[in-house]
Every structure is written in structure tokens, then in C-alpha cells.
Symmetry: C2
Subunit: 407 residues, 2 copies
């Protein structure tokens, strides 16, 4: 597997474009279009929130009932959530607009929205946006990046990743882009992620690969514990790599999972590190847990703890809060047996052992906690299972952004 | 039932004192002592955190194994959590110190600590503190209030409540004090609460009353979702009111539950409203839910949502976040059927109905959301169950307090 530059246009036959539709933001692109040159098999995972945005409902039908999909229309600024029948109608209208302009059947057009809940989409602007983007579709890296920028809301960085790998002599590419900064607690999470590949694979295997992999990637990040109404991951495979079709969990499937995992992990970490107001990516790695499920719960409990997140912002080695978060995770363990470490680029120090603090250097701990990527390593000393979760620190800017998001 | 002035010394035969022990804070009292003139039956509920502080373990034994208790020693500044065998030893030493000074058996002395996790208690200071408080014990209202002040950490206000009611011609009093501002997500939650009554009641009925009532009071508040290692509620009944002993769930038991519920609800709301950095008490009342358990989950999900809490701080009627929080609570419902209102002293306005926003006045909404107590009323239109949860807004000061708590 090789990491390459690019995103959603990295795989063969995927085109993208973006435009200033003027939906909510001014002086920036706020609409993106992804098109596959040929129909692609499609997999998706969606928010577990009972309150589902209209585009989530639209896409769920497409993914479950259609053999293929060929285009994705995304807008930023308005989430099209809690918008009733009118909002559902706008999903259909958007798809029909793509059909009219690009001759792709409306029932094979996916849609995604992110932004404020409760407002209706300005449909004329979306129609004009689709018309403006169609002639500019291109498979260039630049167009992929423009699309990644256009879907941002409170994100401060665009988020892309791509890799290639070999399947029976054919080069296969997996690339993707995502956005997500607040209301991030994917299960699934607004978190939107779009991954494309030219792999030849059955629809069943594609959906299985995605469902399995989101559990270890997107579902292991949290910015604020709020699971959005719009969370969507879409994975399109258009088969243009020409490899023998993957129809079972063989060696080639494993290679694909490895590539997909790299892209999804990279995108997920970029979201966590770019959490609203964040100054640091905060990783918690739990090792030697008794079960995988317990390792996940423990790791997520730490990265979700407001008190721990605030301590990370303060570069304060307040490890008692980490112990506390592990303790209320719902997992049973012996606090006297586990061990705790901080890790950063500048090194690793042990903090806790045998039920009490070890005699560590506060200065050294503060140095590690001042880095842009901070890792807490928790050794449960119980078994062989492990899991990693990613979050960010809790800052003044998180409050600022969210106390006044709508204005 | 009549609400009266006072707290932990309101009920007959309960004395209190406080002192500057100099454990961590300077120029303030940081230690309190509560004593009953006669041995009292005792009930307690404690943190569900796997990582339990030493005083929690000490008190659990006293409550479950001893017929009576007669004193409680409380310190602020150091939590005596994650302190190993040394920390457990200090609980015993504290109790023995009370035995030496007041001739109360050490195994009937309860202890409670709140503050930083991981540090050891300075035992000489605690011993001196007990010696200093013993001669100052008094049943005056002032001494109760001094005790309530001495147990504060990041609290900005002391918290007391008391009521009287009649049982067969005898006046019974229930009074209490608590502290709690951060690491508050009682289940049980540091939240410490101490309630005293002169009621004559069996130990079994006292424990049952407390266990039932904490579910609707302390367990329905959250400041930051962090369930502390030290959460403790202790309830002492010394029988000095002289009523016929309550041994079953009769009318008198119901009267006691009503009084206990008032004291506990009042104390719990005071903690939520005084959450770290908070500018407002944020109440969510769910009505017409299908079950009580669902009503509770829905209400708690809203008051725990960081995004909603930040919107309350911003006086922003961002109701989509409330819908979102209801949706990820784990409770199934039809978003098209439920209704949403904001309530304040200045009135009530409807926000959401039939799956979309109603045409409400943003100005009026902002006015309600600018009050010191804001209520979200959620009408599920499903059944007859209801529940109320209490939290607070998320502010810059919450981050400030917790980014640098140890220094």
C-alpha cells in the first residue's frame, strides 16, 4: 500500500467540482459535486440519531434499493434536518436537477447537507449551483481539493486522504474527503465522509467492508458527544481498476480493508484534530483490555470527558480525571492493577501504577501535553484486546463557536 | 410541609462546626464536622465509578454494617482518591481522631473528601482541625451555614435547604447541605450531600427512601458528564422528633418522602445552577413520554449536550440541537409528533411542532433564554410519564476553571 496525494478524485473515473452557490456563506464555495464516469456500486453508513435529516433518508433508500449510484451533491450551510415534507422534496428536486443537467437517473443521485438544523434549502440556488458545476467537472487533484473545501462548515482545514495498492497486478486507488468539526460523535456522526475507489467489488462486500471499518475509525472519534442528525459516510466503487471482482473475504478483500482503513483513519483523525476550537488532537490508546468492546468503551470514555479535555487544553497532567473517566465507562477493572502513560513526539512517561501516582516529572508531562498530538496510553493488564479513540481538547473557542453559531 | 431557613443543623440534635485546616485553600474554612447528639440510623448512596475514593469505601462499610452513625468529617481541597492503602489508612485515622476527641466510636464516624485526585491528605492538619472544631460544635443555623461554606471547592455559593412537616402531632425536620460544581454527573455523583432529620424511622426504610429519591433528584443533574470518584449522599436520622417509628410505606413515610424530595431537589438544583462557570440553571422537562425511564433519558440527553449548553450560554434559540440531543438519547419517538417550548419567568413560547419550526419570535426566545433559569419543555405526545433534569450552560469560565484547576 502506498499513500498518495489526493482525495475524492484520486481513483480512476471520479470527477469533482465545486461552486459558490451562496446558500449561507459569503465569498467561498459551499457546494460540491462528485460524479463517477460509470455507475458505481455504493455502500453507506448513516446517523443512528432518531431525528434523521432529509438527505440521510434519501440516501438510505438509494443505498439499500438501487444497484448503483453515480453522483453525490453536497451543500454546506444548511443541514436540511427537521424540515418535514418540504425538506424531503428538496432532496428529490436536487437529484432531478442532476438528471436534467448530467443525464444521470435521479434515483442514482446521492445528496448530503451540513449546517444549521431547521432551515429550508434555497432550491433555486442549488439548481444554479448544479448547472454551474457540471461543465467544470474534472478528475484533477485540484478539483478534489476544491470539493473538500466547499463542504467545510466550522472546519479550519480541508480533509483528504488517498492510497493505492495492487490487486492481481492491477493498481487500485482508494481516496476520500470528509468534513466535521462540531456535533461530532459519530455513531455514525455532521461528519460527512465521501470515499471513492476504482476497485471491482460486489455491493455486498463493499457494504460489509464499510460497516466493519467505520466501527474502528469514524465511530471512535468524538468532539463533543453530540451525534448529528446528518452523519453520513458514502463509499463508491466504480470498478475501473479492472481487477478480478472481489466477492468474498479473500486476500484481496483484506488488502482493500487495509487501504480503506488507512483512508478512513486518516480522515477521522483529521476531523478529531480539527474539532471546533481545538488546539490538539487527543488520542487515547487502551491496550491489554479483556475484550475489544471494553477497550473501545474505555478509550472513548477518556476522549469524551469534558474535564480531561479541558486539562489537555491547559497542558495539565491532571491524570485523576483520566482514571475517573475510565471508572465511569461502565467497564469493570481493578484500578490498582492498571497503568497510565503520556506519549508525545518528545517521548513517553509513566504517570500511574499500583493504585497511586508514580514519581514523574511535572515539567516533562507538561512538555508532552503541550504538543499538537497528545496520546494517553492505558495498559489494563487484563488481556489482549486494544482500541484507539480520537478527540480533541476543550477550549474557549469551542464555547465561542457554539454560543453563537447561527448568527 | 413548610420550608424553613437552615441546613444540616435544622433538625433537632444535630450540631456542626467548621475550621480553617489549611489543607489546600488559604484564608477560608475547608473542614466541617457534623455530629448528632445521639446515635442516628444512617443511609447512603455512593458513586457508581469503578474508581472509588477511599472515603467512599470507608462510608460504604459503615452504612452497610453498622446499626448507627454519629459523626461526619468532611474536608475540601483533596479528594483522597487514587491514594492506595495510605489513603484508606487516613480514613481510619480521621475516625479515630474523632473517637479520641468526642468519644464517638470510630466505626460510627463517616468521612468525606472532595478536591484534587491523587494527592495524600496532610493528616496532622486534619487532626488539628478536628480538635479545633470539637469545642465549637453548635446547633445554630450559623454553624450549619459555616459547614456548608467549608465544604465548597469551585462552588460559588453555599447550598442548604430545610423543611418541617407533622407526623402524628410531632414536628419533624429534614435539612441538608451539599457541594458540587464540577465533575458532576451523579450516578451517584463530587457531589457531596449531607441530609439530617430527627425523624424516627427504621434503617431499612431510611435507606429505601434515599435510594428511591436520589434517582429523581441528584441523579437527574449534570454539569459536565463526568461521574466523580467521590460522590456521596449521606442521610442521618436521629429520632429526636419522637414520632411513632416509621417501619413501612404508610402515609407518614409518604410525608417524609415529600420532605426529603423537597430538600434533595432544592440542593440538586443549586448544584446544577452553580455548575462550574455557569451563568444559568438549565432545566429540561419531558412530559407525555411513554415510560418514566424514557422521559429521564430524554431529559438528561438534552441537559448533557455540549452544543445545547453552549447555545444556552449564547442565549441562542438553536432548537435543532435540542432535537438532535433527543434523537441520540437512545429512545425511539416520532420527531414529527413531538412539540417543543421554551419557558422562563417572562413566559412560554412554542418553538417546534409537526416536524418543523413554528413561526416564533426570535426576540422573545432570546429574552427567555437570557434569564437565570431557563426551561425547555418537551411534549412527547406518547403517554403519561414525565421527568425533569437540571444542568447549566457551557461557558468560557468552565474551560478556564478546568484547564488550570490544580494550580
Amino acid at each position: 500500500m502506498e499513500v498518495i496525494t489526493g482525495g475524492v478524485t484520486a481513483a480512476k473515473g471520479f470527477l469533482a467540482a465545486a461552486t459558490e452557490a451562496g446558500i449561507k456563506y459569503k465569498d467561498r464555495k459551499d457546494m460540491a459535486l462528485i460524479v463517477s464516469q460509470v455507475p458505481a456500486v455504493c455502500a453507506g453508513t448513516f446517523t443512528s440519531n432518531v431525528v434523521k435529516a432529509a438527505p440521510v433518508k434519501w440516501d438510505q433508500r438509494v443505498v439499500s434499493e438501487e444497484a448503483c449510484a453515480q453522483a453525490i451533491v453536497i451543500n454546506a450551510g444548511i443541514a436540511n434536518a427537521c424540515t418535514g415534507a418540504e425538506g424531503m422534496g428538496y432532496c428529490k428536486q436536487t437529484a432531478e436537477s442532476v438528471e436534467r443537467v448530467l443525464e444521470i437517473p435521479a434515483n442514482q443521485v446521492l445528496v448530503a447537507s451540513t449546517g444549521v438544523i431547521g432551515m429550508q434549502l434555497p432550491m433555486e440556488k442549488l439548481d444554479l449551483g448544479i448547472e454551474a458545476m457540471a461543465p467544470n467537472l474534472s478528475d484533477s487533484i485540484e478539483n478534489g481539493t476544491e470539493a473538500a473545501c466547499a463542504i467545510m462548515t466550522t472546519d479550519t482545514k480541508y480533509k483528504e486522504a488517498a492510497v493505492t495498492f495492487e490487486v492481481d497486478g492491477k493498481t487500485v486507488t482508494v481516496g476520500g474527503m470528509c468534513k466535521g468539526s462540531g456535533m461530532i460523535h459519530p455513531n455514525m456522526c455532521t461528519m460527512l465522509s465521501f470515499v471513492t475507489t476504482d476497485l471491482v467489488i460486489s455491493k455486498e462486500m463493499l457494504q460489509e467492508a464499510l460497516c466493519e471499518n467505520v466501527k474502528d475509525t469514524y465511530n471512535m472519534i468524538s468532539v463533543d458527544g453530540d451525534t448529528s442528525t446528518n452523519d453520513t459516510v458514502l463509499l463508491l466503487a466504480n470498478g475501473m481498476a479492472g481487477n478480478p471482482k472481489i466477492t468474498k473475504k479473500d486476500e484481496n478483500y483484506k488488502k482493500f480493508i487495509e487501504a480503506l482503513n488507512y483512508v478512513n483513519t486518516t480522515l477521522a483523525k483529521k476531523m478529531a484534530g480539527d474539532g471546533e476550537g481545538a488546539t490538539a488532537l487527543f488520542e487515547t490508546k487502551v491496550i491489554h483490555a479483556d475484550t475489544k468492546e471494553h477497550a473501545k468503551r474505555l478509550a472513548k470514555s477518556v476522549i469524551c470527558s469534558s474535564l480531561t479535555k479541558a486539562a489537555i487544553f491547559g497542558h495539565d497532567a491532571n491524570w485523576g480525571r483520566i482514571l475517573c473517566a475510565l471508572g465511569y465507562s461502565g467497564v469493570m477493572f481493578d484500578p490498582e492493577k492498571m497503568e497510565l502513560f503520556f506519549q508525545g513526539k518528545s517521548g513517553q512517561i509513566q504517570i500511574y501504577k499500583d493504585g497511586i501516582a508514580v514519581d514523574y516529572s511535572e515539567e516533562e508531562a507538561t512538555k508532552i501535553l503541550s504538543e499538537e498530538e497528545v496520546t494517553v496510553l492505558v495498559d489494563m493488564k487484563m488481556g489482549e484486546a486494544e482500541a484507539t479513540a480520537w478527540g480533541c481538547d476543550l477550549t474557549y473557542d469551542y464555547v465561542k463557536i457554539n454560543a453563537d453559531y447561527r448568527s
